[in-house]
């Protein structure tokens, strides 16, 4: 009996979502486009930046630095500037991210062993990119500087404090990047998008489910039907889980195949964790839905939950960097756990034990949110 009732409510719920062709399209096409667009756009690497040069020095060393800067893969265009006003304008209007300024005695100072200084003015409005560009420029200056000391045998008189640099003494650090040797940012973004996009879709579908019935008035019909609350809720959880699983499957196929991100771990483990993740998300979505009187409230409520869910998951910035009290909140976020699993399964061939460690918090979140939804659902019935 329960089986037959459950089957009919599941069919009804699937029908409610998939009947409308535009809904079908909106659930399937955008996640695929997003993978391409947002996957490629969301890079924290800084490349192809425009720089300005104000060169009052006619010598060889400024020329050398400028050529090295122009040849850097991080620099797209070098714009030659005539005056300080010109430089100011280029930065203010954001034509360039930074201006390098060489004084007229720059080359003479470098050749004379007195140390030349390049003035760099960067646009602090884009402070993050400006900082990264500045660190690239530092590296270029250091490497040109090194060739200066190789070319001139004349010893440099030590003055000022000792500045530790990379090859100070013969000792150094040999860096090995595990899991992602070249630190390709795409390798991080792509598996993360699985967690983000399946969350947005699954939660949108769940959040609408109860609220839609209430808005359309079919909620009351559901109440007078012989269905139990648990059956209604289970029926409503099937479509979001299917939608989330579908999107994940598309991503798991496209990410290694089109974007060449290695899938080193077990797909079975990924799907095992995915089930827990989607159930936790539907639990959260269901809570929002039960609390909302209209679809508008449900959607906006879902949105207010989705933003911190994404931003605190470790996708925007590592959880380790957050203040302690915010880390506590981040550990209530299902995406925090699933993000570890997607990164782990894709790049680190994560073991079953480590995956399981991230599954039980998801199960806990699911149990708590669903119980709360069921209680609220029941209390609204009476």
């Amino acid at each position: 009996m329960t089986g037959a009732r459950l089957k009919s409510i599941i069919i009804k719920e699937l029908w409610a979502i998939l009947r409308d062709p535009r809904t079908r399209i909106v659930l399937i096409v955008p996640p695929i486009l997003q993978l391409a667009i947002f996957g490629l756009a969301t890079t924290l690497e800084v490349k192809n930046m425009s720089l300005g040069v104000l060169n009052r020095d006619g010598g060889a060393w400024s020329q050398e630095v400028i050529e090295r800067v122009a040849g850097s893969p991080n620099v797209g265009r070098v714009i030659s500037l005539k005056s300080d006003d010109d430089a100011r304008n280029a930065i203010e209007r954001q034509r360039v991210i930074a201006v390098l300024r060489f004084d007229s005695d720059f080359s003479a100072k470098v050749s004379g062993g007195r140390g030349g200084t390049i003035g760099v003015v960067a646009d602090g409005r884009r402070s993050n990119a400006a900082q990264i560009v500045a660190s690239y420029l530092d590296q270029i200056a250091a490497s040109v500087g090194a060739s200066v000391s190789r070319r001139q045998v004349r010893p440099v008189a030590p003055s000022g404090p000792v500045v530790p640099t990379g090859d100070f003494l013969a000792g150094r650090s040999v860096v090995v990047n595990w899991f992602n040797r070249n630190l390709d940012y795409l390798w991080f973004t792509m598996p993360a998008l699985i967690a983000i996009m399946s969350a947005i879709s699954a939660m949108s579908v769940t959040a609408q489910s109860v609220a839609r019935e209430r808005e359309l008035g079919t909620y009351d019909q559901l109440m007078v039907s012989p269905l139990r609350v648990s059956e209604i809720l289970v029926g409503k959880m099937v479509p979001p889980v299917l939608v989330g699983a579908f999107i994940t499957t598309v991503y798991v196929i496209l990410i290694p195949w089109v974007f060449r991100v290695p899938l080193t771990g077990s797909i079975a483990l990924l799907y095992g964790a995915l089930v827990f993740y989607l159930l936790a998300l539907t639990g959260v979505g269901m809570l929002v839905s039960v609390l909302s009187a209209t679809q508008q409230q449900a959607f906006l409520g879902m949105f207010l939950v989705a933003i911190p869910l994404i931003l605190l998951s470790g996708y925007a910035s590592p959880v380790d960097n957050m203040p302690d009290w915010l880390q506590v909140i981040a550990h209530l976020d299902p995406a925090t756990y699933f993000l570890r699993v997607t990164e782990g399964v894709f790049l680190k061939s994560m073991s079953a034990r480590d995956v399981l460690d991230n599954c039980w918090p998801l199960a806990l979140i699911c149990v708590v949110t669903l119980s709360a939804s069921a209680l609220l659902f029941r209390s609204r019935m009476e």
Binding site: V26, P30, Q34, F38, L40, A41, T42, L44, V46, K47, N48, I91, Q94, V110, G115, G116, G119, V120, V121, A122, G124, R125, R126, S127, N128, D138, G145, P155, V162, P164, T165, G166, F168, L169, A170, G171, R172, S173, V174, V175, N177, W178, L183, F188, I200, S204, Q296, F299, L300, G301, F303, I307, L311, P318, D320, N321, E343, L347, K348, M350
Partner: protein
């Protein structure tokens, strides 16, 4: 809901112009009441800005705290112990474990530590000969974190080596003089490089997109769903008037929310407003035109709340976050996506917001961007009206 009918009846005794004004005001009052009555509107207009500023102010921290690492000390020398101690007491690292790399490797996979510093066998002997190389293993699945760990681990090592030289009074092999070429960095507009200073103005664009596009799309789509919009069109109200009554309340709400963000940004997060409030108001008002136009267009094209909400999310919210230059640098994106960003209105908004907050009024920068935004506004409203007409006919 039905104030329109009463106003139309009263029309007989008054001049047409007066009737129109009264009718317009009545409709506007109706819309405003609907907004005030629905708690979800307040949620988006006032809770969302708080949440966003809060998350960007505290949560999205691009400046790193102490990173958890492990150390594998394979060498028993005093030098190795002293270097390990320097890592333990470093303000950049939190050394949670000192064991073999194979054990620590499992911690790295689980994500409990972010790097391993290996002090190899024979390190002490090498140091005595002026060398001493360590190995730094990072977690490449977090590329930024990995770069950070590598750079700061080398920093700790280099400092340690420099300290030894000054303590032992031994000359170094390389030259310790001033570098041949050095850079003198200056950052205009944000000398302290506070990431909040660009995150807070950026969130204003996100909040206004939410109100202008998402909220408008949802509300108007509901009217289409229920047929109340067709009902209104059957009355003598003109199309322009009808659209104006839908748009004006959200325009006001958007500016109100912008003001809230600005006040919070200035007084809570200490973001300067170096430009004039009037310029900020003008920029925001202009930005709302494409935002509202897009919302109307989405609702008219979808006429379904669920579809409208998804389309608004995908075509307005996500591009504003990701393709506008707010969080990610546009020049760094691949060429086809760079071209795509020209279709994102927020792309023209972010530089204006950053400038008015951090630099000051620069109309040479504002006006071309405002022109682009108005162009999008006209385009979106034009198509929205056309689609609406077709739907009714």
């Amino acid at each position: 809901m039905n104030t329109t009918g009463n106003v139309a009846d009263a029309g007989g005794t008054e001049t047409d112009a007066k009737v129109e004004v009264r009718r317009f005001l009545a409709l506007l009052t109706k819309e405003a009441r609907q907004i005030v009555r629905d708690p979800s509107t307040a949620l988006i207009a006032f809770v969302l800005p708080l949440l966003l500023l809060f998350l960007f102010g505290y949560g999205v921290n691009l400046d790193t705290a102490r990173t958890r690492i492990g150390i594998d000390p394979r060498d028993q020398s005093a030098a190795a112990a002293s270097l390990a101690h320097d890592f333990t007491s470093s303000r950049w690292f939190n050394v949670v474990d000192a064991r073999s790399t194979s054990v620590l490797g499992r911690e790295l996979v689980a994500g409990r530590i972010r790097g391993i510093v290996v002090i190899p066998d024979g390190f002490g002997r090498d140091v005595a000969h002026g060398g001493g190389t360590i190995q730094v293993i990072t977690d490449g699945s977090l590329p930024n974190m990995a770069g950070f760990v590598a750079a700061y681990a080398e920093g700790v090592r280099a400092n340690w080596a420099a300290q030894r030289v000054s303590e032992h009074g031994r000359a170094s092999i390389g030259s310790a003089g001033p570098p041949a070429i050095s850079l003198e960095h200056r950052y205009w507009f944000n000398p302290g490089l506070t990431s909040r200073f660009f995150l807070v103005p950026g969130s204003i664009a996100v909040v206004m997109t939410m109100i202008g596009t998402l909220l408008t799309a949802l509300v108007v789509a509901r009217e289409w769903e229920r047929g109340t919009l067709e009902g209104l069109m059957a009355t003598p109200i003109g199309m322009g008037e009808l659209i104006a009554t839908k748009v004006v309340p959200y325009f006001v709400l958007g500016l109100g929310s912008m003001t809230l963000c600005t006040l919070l940004g200035i007084f809570l997060f200490g973001v300067p407003l170096r430009g004039s409030p009037w310029a900020l108001l003008a920029i925001s008002a202009v930005f709302l035109s494409p935002a509202l136009g897009q919302g109307l267009l989405i609702s008219a094209a979808t006429r379904n709340q669920f579809v409208a909400s998804q389309v608004a999310l995908i075509t307005a919210f996500l591009p504003t976050m990701l393709l506008s230059g707010f969080l990610f640098e546009i020049p760094s994106m691949p060429a086809p996506i760079r071209l795509l960003t020209y279709l994102v209105p927020a792309r023209y908004m972010i530089p204006q917001l950053q400038t008015v907050f951090l630099a000051g009024d620069d109309w040479g920068l504002f006006l071309p961007n405002m022109g682009a935004l108005l162009g999008f506004g006209v385009l979106f409203f034009g198509i929205a009206i056309k689609v609406t007409r077709r739907r009714v006919a």
